[in-house]
């Protein structure tokens, strides 16, 4: 029998600590497949952030650094400048990247650091137990927005990809979802393209992956995927917001 789907080699054969059905796992697989396909496992250096993905270093089979909350792009910059032929990527949640790490991501984009950012937007702080994130939807209940996020007090959610796309140094910026086989296939293409931009020396690339948090959303994994499709995608349109060619395919 011919193998039509196999687990990526750059992923270690261990159990993750992620909750059942959490799409962090899917995104890990896509990154690992990309590393496999590009053959860069031995020069990849990942930067784990603080969030549910903090232990991602245990799951990827390559060199890793674990960065302080929000600072993965700065850590990646330090690596980038010292190991010229490394393939440097960060893996960050939305609390990490879009809240405490706003300055670091904006300025890594401005400098067009030749790194790839995998940005997991699950509209919540997963690891700390479901507090409001800057990406939390208006009306969404979290442990720090018990009545649902209130626009007049906490504002409307931030669209990171759109914001970063205004920065000339942000060479490749795309938003994808992980909530269906078709979305996952597109997500894979975007992540691979982001790494390819880096390999070509093209500068900063980022893929925002809409992701679920069944546990803190209080839903089953499949319900959570449907919630993304129904509530998040309309506000966070999928597509490419900047490409090296200058194209844009969102809407």
């Amino acid at each position: 029998m011919k193998q039509v789907y196999s687990v990526p080699k750059s992923l270690r054969p261990v159990s993750t600590h992620y909750c059942p059905g959490c799409t962090h796992g899917i995104i890990h697989k896509l990154v690992a497949e990309t590393i496999d396909e590009l053959g860069v496992r031995d020069r990849a250096i990942g930067v784990a952030s603080v969030g549910c993905s903090v232990f991602s270093y245990d799951y990827f089979d390559c060199d890793f650094q674990q960065a302080a909350h929000g600072r993965a792009p700065a850590v990646a910059t330090g690596i980038r400048r010292t190991v010229p032929d490394a393939v440097v990527f960060t893996y960050q949640g939305d609390g990490d990247l879009a809240s405490i790490g706003t300055a670091e991501i904006v300025h890594a984009a401005m400098r067009s650091e030749n790194i790839t950012v995998v940005f997991v937007n699950n509209a919540i702080y997963g690891m700390t137990g479901g507090q409001m994130a800057p990406t939390t939807m208006v009306g969404q209940r979290t442990t720090t927005s018990p009545e649902g996020r209130i626009k007049g007090l906490a504002g409307e959610p931030i669209r990171v990809s759109e914001m970063l796309a205004t920065i000339p140094g942000a060479t490749y910026v795309a938003r994808v979802s992980t909530t269906s086989p078709a979305h996952i296939a597109k997500a894979k293409r975007a992540i691979k393209k982001a790494f390819e931009v880096q390999l070509a020396g093209g500068g900063f690339s980022l893929v925002e992956c809409l992701s679920t948090c069944p546990t803190n959303w209080g839903m089953s994994p499949v319900e959570a995927m449907e919630w993304v499709d129904k509530n998040m995608i309309p506000y966070y349109p999928l597509g490419e917001f900047r490409t090296p060619e200058g194209g844009q395919t969102n809407g």
Partner: protein, 68 residues
């Protein structure tokens, strides 16, 4: 070998594979694994078209898919 091999010990019983299988070939087993979850299993191998979707959507890298 089955078309779909589930690493039962690692399965978290999330049901995502079952949900996305276009042929409804998968189901959650009655048994409980060492983690306390009901693992997914290929309940209807005949229906399976080896499309690989279950493998691709499984968040825990638990499934490998083969084509005869």
């Amino acid at each position: 070998m089955k078309k779909v091999v589930v690493n039962e010990a690692k399965c978290k019983g999330c049901g995502v594979c079952v949900n996305f299988c276009p042929k409804s070939a998968l189901a959650m087993a009655d048994r409980i694994n060492s983690k306390g979850y009901h693992p997914a299993e290929l309940a209807n191998e005949a229906a399976c078209i080896s499309c690989g979707i279950c493998g691709r959507v499984c968040p825990d890298a638990v499934i490998e898919v083969f084509k005869p």
